[in-house]
Amino acid sequence: MKTRIITSLLSVVLWLLVAAAQGTAIDGDVVYTYGQVLVHRNPEVVPAEIGMPVGEGDVIETAGDGVAVISLVDGAEIKLRENTTLSLDSLGRNVSVRLSSGSVFSRVNRQLISGFSVKTETAVMGVRGTEFFVAYGRQIDRHRDVWVCVNTGSVEVAILQSRDTLIVEEGKGINILGGTNLTSPQRYPWTRKLNWNMDPAAGAVEDRTDLEQAYSDLLDQDYD
């Protein structure tokens, strides 16, 4: 028993030394992967594995079949859906991540983290609550639409260019048209199918919700 404790402690110390040597702060780790998931850590690109540490500056990328869950030591979890690229810009008690493509679920422990935001190319979603979803939608205007859905708590959405802000309350969602025009938050039926679970032990983690449902299917608009 004593030997096992010493061995574990030595492993952690060794892992810390390796991480320090690589210049990476130990801010979290990969707790779940499915399909192809890559971690870009300049200049390397390595396949993500469960237990792999991640830190500030890392970029996590999932392929068309990929899902990953990242757990941050300061009290947040992020689930990346397929075809997603997420940069861990700043970690610690003030977390800022940047979504370049795809979609992510975030769960934040507000008692441990003082600030948590998800940036897209045009907007910033600042967490006031604990659980929310951000996804790129269709590109109809110059920039892509951005969908934000809040499961618990609330999220402040801020448009970078216009500085317009809006609070999205629990249970509601918003489509930021072209990434720049705020619409009224409302309860979107399609968000009921989102899988918020991030714990593999509690059930399926993958979310296969077809985000095309977020848009009106004109071929289904038949009323007689």
């Binding site: 009106s216 071929l219 038949d222």
Partner: protein, 258 residues
């Protein structure tokens, strides 16, 4: 044979148009009437299955009598992205058929009062729909509604073929207004003397008040062709009389997603 039949009926229509007005044993054309119709629909969205319940009523004839009323229930199923099929049961009162032109007493001709006559109709529907996003504005859908109806009361079978083009005006990526132009062709499969017993150009505007309430305004120029009834045939008559009317319709639709 078919061409001869059509030409014969065209000749009948011309003869009736010329002399029919004075022949009281033949249904007369009351001129271009204005009639009203309304419907209220509950449309449920259960994924691929879309059950539907609809109430319809019509105010018809010169006195705008509330004659026709129906209750339709059934469901659509989306077989393919571009194809929906549906099966429905309808119970109706006040429907008028060719054989409702009767001679209850010698020399006296009239339409049967069918307001209390209950009929049941089985309906099968297949409607392919295509996005015509190459048109200006992109949000266009072309659809062809094909509907087979079997009336259990008199065994009449008919086919509705209604091509139509709809433009969707979107606001915040959601439909705000639909503008549709359709043309309905009603083909009798086992009755009547004409290829079409009814046809109509049909305009509709649908206002999406919100996700669960849609309001509809329609306008149609309807032509119904009455063919020889059994009583008229027994009297030695043959006719195909067109009746035309402007029909204005109102609808309230309530889609519900589960």
């Amino acid at each position: 044979m078919k061409t001869t039949h059509v030409l014969l009926m065209a000749a009948i229509v011309l003869v009736v148009a010329a002399f029919g007005a004075s022949a009281n044993h033949i249904p007369t054309d009351p001129g271009e009437l204005i009639e009203l119709e309304s419907r209220t629909s509950l449309l449920m969205d259960l994924g691929r299955f879309d059950p539907l319940v609809e109430l319809e009523g019509r105010f018809e004839d010169t006195n705008l009598e509330f004659r026709y009323r129906s209750l339709t229930a059934g469901a659509y199923v989306r077989l393919l992205k571009n194809l929906k099929a549906g099966a429905f049961y309808r119970i109706q009162q006040g429907a008028r058929h060719d054989n409702d032109w009767i001679e209850p007493s010698p020399g006296w001709w009239e339409w049967v009062d069918s307001r209390n006559r209950t009929e049941q109709v089985l309906i099968l529907d297949a409607s392919p729909r295509f996005l015509f996003d190459f048109l200006p504005g992109k949000n266009w859908v072309f659809a062809v509604k094909n509907r087979y109806e079997y009336n259990l009361y008199n065994g009449q079978q008919s086919l509705l073929v209604r091509p139509g083009l709809t433009y969707f005006l979107l606001r915040s990526r959601e439909p705000l207004l639909n503008f549709s132009l359709n043309y309905g062709f009603y083909i009798p499969l086992n009755f009547g003397d004409t290829f079409l017993y009814e046809h109509e150009p049909y305009l509709s505007v649908l206002y999406h008040l919100n996700r669960n309430v849609k309001l509809e305004l329609t306008a149609a120029y309807r032509t119904v062709v009455w063919s020889t009834s059994d009583d008229s045939w027994a009297n030695g008559d043959a006719y195909a009389v067109p009746n035309r009317s402007f029909v204005v319709g109102f609808g309230a639709l309530f889609p519900v997603s589960f």
